[in-house]
C-alpha cells in the first residue's frame, strides 16, 4: 500500500455494542469506564439546563457568538469550571484531564440528552491544541485557562486579499523593533473578529523565503491600531470582517514557536481546524431528519411513502452517504493515536458534501417557503434554514477549499506528484 489513511494504530476501544454481542467479562478498565459514565450522566443531569435542550445549532458557526441569558451563562460556567468543555486537555489549566475513552463517553452522554458543549470557538478547536504542541509555558498559562472557561474569543488571521488558497503569499508584516514587533497589513474573511479579544495571526517576518519567512503571532485585538470592518455575507449574516493592522505593537512573548516556524505551525493548526469542520457532530434532536421535514411539507401516499418518489430516493441516498461520513469520523477517532492527520482532508470534504447536500434537499423540500428572506409570511425556522443553506456554502471554502483538500489528498496521501 502506498498510502496510509491515518497515522498510527490505536488500541482497541470498547465497541458500543459490547453489551449486545458475546460480551467478555468486565475487566478493571471497563468497570472504571462504566463508573465514569455514571458520574458523567449524573453530573450532566444536574447541571445541564433543560431549556437549552437541542439548542446547539446556535453554536454551529466556526466562530460563534455565545448567546446571552441566565441559563446559557450557567451552562457555560458549569462546564468551564468542571473543565469538561476541553475534556482531554491537562488539568493544570483547569481542563478535564480525561482519557480519550472517557471523553468519548462524555460525548455520548452529552448527546444522549440533547445537550452540547458550550465551550466553543477557535480558542478551543484551533489555538488550544496548537499552544499545547508549540506554545511556551507562559503562553499556555496565560491563554489556556481562559479558553477552558470560555472566557475569551479568538479569531484566525490567516487570509488576506491577495492570499487565499495560496496562503503563503501573505504580506502582513511584523518588524522587529527590539522589545516588540510592529505589525502592519490587512486580513480578510476573519470570522468572529468583530467580537474577538485575541487573534492568532500569520505575519511575514522575512521576505527572503516564501514559507520560512512566516511567523505565528498572537495579537491582542484591543491593541491600538487594530480596526475591524464587518462584511455582510450572502446569508445576510455578518460573521466575518476585514481586519486592518496599522502600527500595532505586539510584545515579543507573543511569538509562538520559532521565528521562521510559522508555516509549520499554521499547517498543523489547519489540520485541527479541518478536523473540526469535517467531524462536526450533530447531536440528538438538534437537526431534524430531512425525511421528517419532507413528510411535513410534501405529504405521503396511502402507504406512508413520501409522495415525491424521486425526492424520496435522493433523500435515502443522501442519508446513507451522511451515515457513511459519520462512521468515517468515528473510525478516524478510533484509529488515530494522536491528533489529526491527512485523513482530515478526506473528512473535511466528506463533511462538506454531507451538509451541503442536506441543505439543498431541505431547500427543495420547502418549495416556495424555502425562498423567504424575512417577514411574517415565513416561519422563523424557514428563514433560518434558508439562510443556513446559503451560509453553509462556505463549508467547502474556509479551512482550505474542497479543491485544495483534493490537492492534499492526491499529492500527500496518494503520492500523485505535482508539476515540478
Amino acid at each position: 500500500m502506498v498510502y496510509q489513511f491515518v497515522a498510527g494504530r490505536a488500541t482497541a476501544r470498547p465497541s458500543r455494542n459490547a453489551e449486545k454481542g458475546r460480551s467478555k467479562p468486565m475487566n478493571a478498565q471497563d468497570s472504571q469506564l462504566a463508573a465514569f459514565r455514571a458520574e458523567a450522566r449524573e453530573w450532566l443531569a444536574k447541571n445541564f439546563p433543560k431549556s437549552l435542550t437541542g439548542k446547539r445549532d446556535v453554536l454551529m458557526d466556526i466562530a460563534p457568538r455565545y448567546p446571552e441569558g441566565e441559563d446559557w451563562a450557567a451552562w457555560k460556567t458549569a462546564m468551564g469550571d468542571k473543565g469538561w468543555g476541553t475534556p482531554t486537555w491537562p488539568t493544570e489549566y483547569g481542563a478535564g484531564g480525561l482519557s480519550r475513552q472517557e471523553a468519548m463517553i462524555l460525548d455520548d452522554e452529552i448527546e444522549r440528552i440533547g445537550a452540547f458543549n458550550p465551550i466553543v470557538g477557535m480558542g478551543v478547536n484551533m489555538l488550544g491544541p496548537t499552544l499545547l504542541e508549540f506554545g511556551t509555558d507562559e503562553q499556555r498559562a496565560q491563554h489556556l485557562p481562559l479558553v477552558v472557561r470560555g472566557a475569551v474569543n479568538w479569531c484566525q488571521g490567516y487570509s488576506e486579499p491577495g492570499a487565499g488558497s495560496d496562503l503563503a503569499s501573505l504580506k502582513t508584516k511584523a518588524e522587529d523593533k527590539g522589545d516588540h514587533y510592529l505589525v502592519n497589513g490587512q486580513k480578510i474573511w476573519t470570522s468572529g473578529s468583530m467580537y474577538a479579544d485575541w487573534c492568532f495571526c500569520l505575519v511575514r517576518t522575512s521576505n527572503d523565503h516564501k514559507h520560512e519567512g512566516i511567523s505565528f503571532l498572537l495579537i491582542d485585538m484591543h491593541s491600538p491600531g487594530v480596526e475591524v470592518r464587518p462584511i455582510t455575507l450572502i446569508s445576510g449574516k455578518q460573521t466575518f470582517a476585514e481586519v486592518f493592522f496599522t502600527d500595532v505593537k505586539v510584545e515579543k512573548g507573543n511569538l509562538v514557536g520559532d521565528l521562521r516556524q510559522g508555516w509549520t505551525i499554521a499547517k498543523r493548526l489547519m489540520q485541527h481546524e479541518r478536523n473540526g469542520i469535517g467531524a462536526r457532530k450533530v447531536s440528538v434532536g438538534e437537526l431534524r431528519p430531512v425525511h421528517e421535514v419532507a413528510k411535513e411539507y410534501i405529504g405521503t401516499d396511502d402507504q406512508g411513502r413520501l409522495s415525491d418518489y424521486d425526492l424520496r430516493a435522493r433523500i435515502a441516498r443522501h442519508q446513507m452517504w451522511e451515515r457513511a461520513q459519520r462512521l468515517t469520523v468515528a473510525r478516524v477517532v478510533e484509529e488515530s493515536k494522536q491528533g489529526p492527520s491527512e485523513a482530515t482532508s478526506v473528512m473535511k470534504n466528506a463533511g462538506s458534501v454531507s451538509i451541503q447536500t442536506r441543505e439543498e434537499l431541505l431547500m427543495e423540500i420547502m418549495g416556495n417557503r424555502g425562498i423567504g428572506w424575512e417577514g411574517d409570511d415565513y416561519l422563523p425556522v424557514e428563514i433560518e434554514q434558508t439562510r443556513q443553506m446559503l451560509q453553509n456554502k462556505a463549508n467547502s471554502i474556509y479551512g482550505g477549499t474542497y479543491e485544495i483538500q483534493a490537492n492534499i489528498i492526491s499529492k500527500r496521501i496518494l503520492g500523485m506528484l505535482d508539476h515540478q
Partner: protein, 376 residues
C-alpha cells in the same frame, strides 16, 4: 484499517499471503479461460485453512470467527477476484442453517460445510430482480412431506452444490411475505435439472428446475410458512458479505488505477500530474474510505446481532455498491484503450462488480428499504 485483534490481524495477513501467492488475478483468468467457474484445487486449500468454517460454531467443527473474520477473507479475495464457493456455502448457507435449522440439520450439514466436503447454496430468486416475497414456486403438501415444483435462477454455485436451500410457497400468492417455507434439498434428489448460466463474471450461476421433487417433512428449515423474516436476516448477512468482497474489489481497482496513472506517460509527463485526474482520484479515495467505515460498522453490527444489523446491512450493500459501480467505471475510463481489452484485468472488475451489485438486491432496492425502515 480497523483496529484489529491479534487473531484478526493474523487472519488477514494469512489471507493476503495466500491470495497473492496462490490466487492472483492470473489464476482467475486461467480458470475462466479453461471454462471452469472455480478451481477445485484452490477451494480445497481454502477449506483446509479452515475458512469455510469461519461462521460455523466450534461444536460443528468451525472456528466461530463471525463475519468480522469472514469479511476480512472475502475482502482479500475480492481484490484478486478469487472464484470459490466460500461466500455462498461457508457464509450464507452456514448462517442460514445455523440460525434457522434444527439440530439434525446442523449436525448433518454444518460440519460438512465447515470442512468443505459439501457445498450448500440458496435457491431463491425467480424473477429478473431479487425479491423473496415474489416467490411463486409451489411446495404442495403431499402425504408426510411436500412436492416442489418451479424454477430458480441465479443460483450461486448451483452446479457444484450438494444441497439447495430452496424457498417455496406453502400458502399465499406471489407478493405475500407469509406462506414462504425454506427446504433443505439434496442436489441429487429426483426431479432436479440444473443448467449453467453463462454470466459475464464467469462464475458459477445456475438455473435449477424442480419438477415434482419430493421431500420429507424433515427437509423443512425453520417453520412452515414463516421463512420470510428469518431468511431476510440471513440475506442481510449475505449482503454484508458481498459488500466485503466489493470493498476488496474497489480497493484493488483503485490501487491498480493509481499505479497506472503514475506510470503512463502522455504529453511528456505521467498522467498522475494532471489535476483533473488527481481530483477524480481524491474523490474516489474519499468514497473508498467511507465504504471501509461502512463495512467495519456492518460486520460488527451483524456479529452483535442487535437492532442495528438491518440498517447496517442496507447501508453496506447500497453504499458500497454505489462506490463499486463508480470505481469499476473509472478504472476503465482512466486506463483508456487498454482498459477496454479482454487481455487487461479492468474488465474483470466491472463485470464482477455489476454481478455483486445485483445480487440479493441492488442499490436502489437498498435505498427503498432504507426509506421504509426510516418510515418515509
Amino acid at each position: 484499517m480497523a483496529v484489529l485483534t491479534e487473531e484478526q490481524q493474523m487472519l488477514r495477513d494469512g489471507a493476503q499471503e495466500w491470495v497473492s501467492k496462490r490466487a492472483p488475478v492470473s489464476a482467475f483468468r486461467a480458470t475462466r479461460d479453461s471454462g471452469a467457474v472455480f478451481d477445485p484445487a484452490l477451494w480445497k486449500e481454502i477449506a483446509e485453512m479452515g475458512w469455510a468454517g469461519m461462521v460455523v460454531p466450534e461444536a460443528q467443527g468451525g472456528s466461530d470467527f463471525g463475519l468480522t473474520g469472514m469479511g476480512l477473507v472475502l475482502e482479500e479475495m475480492g481484490k484478486t477476484l478469487v472464484a470459490s464457493p466460500l461466500f455462498i456455502s461457508g457464509l450464507v448457507a452456514a448462517s442460514a442453517i445455523k440460525s434457522i435449522g434444527n439440530d439434525a440439520q446442523k449436525a448433518d450439514w454444518l460440519t460438512k460445510i465447515a470442512d468443505g466436503s459439501a457445498i450448500v447454496t440458496l435457491a431463491i430468486d425467480e424473477g429478473t430482480r431479487h425479491n423473496t416475497a415474489q416467490t411463486a414456486m409451489q411446495a404442495q403438501a403431499d402425504g408426510d412431506g411436500f412436492t416442489l415444483s418451479g424454477t430458480k435462477v441465479q443460483v450461486i454455485e448451483g452446479i457444484a452444490a450438494d444441497a439447495f436451500l430452496v424457498l417455496a410457497r406453502t400458502s399465499g400468492a406471489a407478493g405475500d411475505t407469509d406462506g414462504l417455507t425454506l427446504f433443505l434439498v439434496p442436489a441429487n434428489s429426483a426431479g432436479i435439472t440444473r443448467t449453467q448460466l453463462k454470466t459475464f463474471d464467469s462464475r458459477g450461476h445456475a438455473k435449477v428446475v424442480f419438477d415434482g421433487v419430493k421431500v420429507g417433512k424433515d427437509a423443512v428449515v425453520g417453520t412452515i410458512g414463516g421463512a420470510h423474516a428469518p431468511l431476510e436476516k440471513v440475506l442481510d448477512v449475505a449482503r454484508v458479505g458481498i459488500a466485503c468482497e466489493m470493498l476488496g474489489l474497489c480497493q484493488q481497482a483503485f490501487d491498480t488505477t493509481l499505479e497506472y496513472l503514475k506510470t503512463r506517460v502522455q504529453f511528456n509527463t505521467i498522467l498522475a500530474q494532471f489535476q483533473a485526474l488527481q481530483h477524480r482520484m481524491a474523490d474516489l479515495f474519499m468514497e473508498l474510505q467511507l465504504a471501509r467505515s461502512v463495512i467495519e460498522h456492518a460486520v460488527r453490527e451483524i456479529d452483535a446481532g442487535g437492532d442495528g444489523a438491518e440498517e447496517a446491512a442496507i447501508l453496506a450493500k447500497g453504499f458500497v455498491g454505489d462506490v463499486a459501480n463508480k470505481m469499476s467505471r473509472q478504472m476503465i475510463q482512466l486506463h483508456g484503450g487498454i482498459g477496454m481489452t479482454d487481455q487487461y484485468d479492468a474488465g474483470f472488475y466491472i463485470k464482477r462488480s455489476r454481478v455483486l451489485e445485483a445480487t440479493f438486491g441492488n442499490q436502489s432496492q437498498q435505498s427503498e428499504r432504507w426509506a421504509n425502515l426510516h418510515d418515509y
